[in-house]
């Protein structure tokens, strides 16, 4: 209970912080539209040549792009800034300040930052999904809606665990900054459903970097492609990844000796 209250307080501070820089909202809106525009250009170029790609039609892929934008916005709002701050603090030795606070250390390092304006991406992505559903003549179906939202939550959790695992390696390797760049490059693969990639790449994007679960699975759910087995698989992988991330974090913290803070 205190954990939720703590997270909520940090969220409030984060939002208040962002309100100091309102001009950034406009820059964010412009960036979102540029990203969306180039995405749409790519999609239209592909569908000028073909009517379907790996069993996905144009409207289906629009839904994928919407989910990609939504999830990407959430990652940049809530996950990435926390993990980048954590990397920095492990390197500098200032993580002491977080570890000495009387709260669960993993929870604390995961909720300290929040970039409100990135939610423009979440909103825009949601609108794109809705447009795609209208194009698909989508009929409200409680199971796809439940599947969609649960898949989004699980995907978000998996990406969080992935980031935490990678960031925790900073306890041993210190220089892991390029990882952020690497993740952004790989996450871009989520713009397209993972079914179209060759096998080795598809497994990599499913189990090494959980792009498939973060984007393709929620999009499958809302377009009526998700099977119950896949959903169960996602649940199992979420739990497994969470346990692994937690374990590595705890070992890492034990290893941390604090530098010169």
């Amino acid at each position: 209970m205190t954990g939720i209250k703590l997270a909520f307080n940090y969220l409030r501070i984060g939002i208040m912080n962002e309100f100091q820089y309102r001009a950034n909202l406009y820059i964010q809106i412009l960036q979102t539209f540029i990203a969306l525009g180039t995405g749409l250009i790519g999609l239209n170029l592909v569908f000028a040549q073909t009517s379907q790609l790996g069993g996905w039609g144009k409207a289906d892929l629009l839904a994928v792009m919407g989910v990609f934008t939504m999830t990407g916005g959430f990652i940049r709002a809530a996950i990435q800034p926390n993990m980048e701050r954590l990397m920095e603090e492990i390197r500098e030795g200032t993580l002491d300040y977080a570890l000495t606070k009387p709260a669960d250390s993993q929870l604390l390092v995961s909720v300290r930052e929040f970039r409100l304006w990135q939610l423009v991406d979440v909103l825009t992505g949601a609108i794109v999904v809705i447009i795609a559903l209208v194009q698909l003549n989508w009929l409200m179906d409680i199971w796809s809606v439940l599947g969609f939202f649960s898949a989004l939550v699980m995907g978000g959790l998996m990406v969080y665990c992935f980031w935490l695992i990678i960031t925790s390696t900073a306890f041993w390797f210190v220089r892991v900054h390029e990882i952020a760049n690497l993740f952004e490059g790989l996450y871009a693969a989520g713009r397209w459903p993972v079914d179209i990639y060759p096998n080795w790449l598809r497994y990599g994007l499913t189990f090494l970097v959980p792009v498939a679960f973060a984007v393709t699975v929620p999009a499958s759910a809302i377009t009526g492609r998700l099977t119950f087995e896949t959903w169960l698989g996602a649940l199992a992988l979420t739990v497994t990844l969470f346990i692994i991330a937690r374990t590595i974090w705890l070992i890492g913290v034990k290893n941390y000796s604090g530098a010169s803070a």
Partner: protein, 267 residues
């Protein structure tokens, strides 16, 4: 002239030594970069296969060739970023280079040119690995190879000029990130970075002729893979040289006006 040659050779040597210390960091950066063309390659190969093996004159093997050569051209394309210019100007870092008896642009050109030597060396194993996975269809002639060699270095110079010009906008206003983003979006679409320009609608292809983007990206790739007639190869090199001369003239002109506005903040 002597002192310029001396300066270039020394700066390039320094860049090689400096960058060679961080092969892992350089590799992480390159792998992150390679994700982008691999995605395009897979998507377009899938489209080509679905359309009976070819789309816009490209087979999956030709797409593989295009996007593998893409990775080298992209690496050559990395120059001092306009965000770096913003930092330089806003933080007053420029003051230091102004003390030197040489135009600061020479420093950028020489340093990044040296870095390219490291980048190309690191690129070779990556290209081999990509070729094993994606089987490119690539049969350049000797002439294609020679033209390509010059074309990638010219591309490097074109992009140095255009991005320096863009960066120098910071002399007038420090709110530049929106402008930079727009520029990069236009470049993505009009350069051949997103897809080979021949897959673009006719009017976009014609429009692309008038911008520097394609001469710094699509043209070098096509020179190596496209079996271009000699005439087109030479026209391309000519356009590149024209853009370099025009860019350099514009940079020195803007620099003369801009530097009077520069008031260092600190540093």
């Amino acid at each position: 002239m002597r002192r310029y040659i001396d300066f270039y050779i020394t700066s390039m040597k320094m860049a090689v030594i400096e960058q060679w210390q961080y092969p892992v960091a350089n590799y992480f950066y390159m792998i992150g970069m390679i994700a982008e063309p691999v995605i395009y390659m897979v998507v377009w190969s899938a489209v080509a296969t679905q359309q009976g093996g070819e789309v816009g004159g490209y087979t999956p093997g030709a797409f593989a060739a295009y996007y593998i050569v893409w990775t080298l051209v992209r690496s050559m394309n990395v120059v001092f970023t306009p965000y770096g210019w913003e930092w330089r100007i806003r933080q007053g870092q420029l003051s230091m280079s102004l003390m030197r008896p040489i135009h600061p642009l020479h420093n950028d050109v020489a340093f990044f040119a040296g870095w390219k030597v490291v980048v190309i060396t690191l690129w070779i194993p990556l290209a081999l690995a990509l070729s094993l996975f994606f089987k490119p269809d690539l049969h350049p002639t000797l002439l294609d190879g020679i033209v390509f060699f010059f074309a990638i270095w010219f591309a490097y110079l074109i992009r140095t000029m255009t991005l320096s010009l863009l960066g120098m906008v910071t002399f007038w206003t420090t709110r530049v990130s929106a402008l930079f983003e727009l520029y990069f979006a236009a470049e993505l679409v009009l350069s051949g970075r997103l897809v080979p320009l021949s897959l673009m609608p006719e009017w976009v292809q014609r429009l692309a002729w008038f911008f520097p983007f394609r001469w710094a990206f699509g043209y070098p790739i096509e020179a190596l893979i496209g079996n271009m007639p000699v005439r087109d190869l030479l026209i391309g090199l000519g356009m590149q040289v024209a853009w370099i001369i025009f860019g350099a003239a514009a940079v020195s002109l803007v620099w003369k006006v801009a530097i009077r506005r520069f008031s260092a903040v600190g540093g």
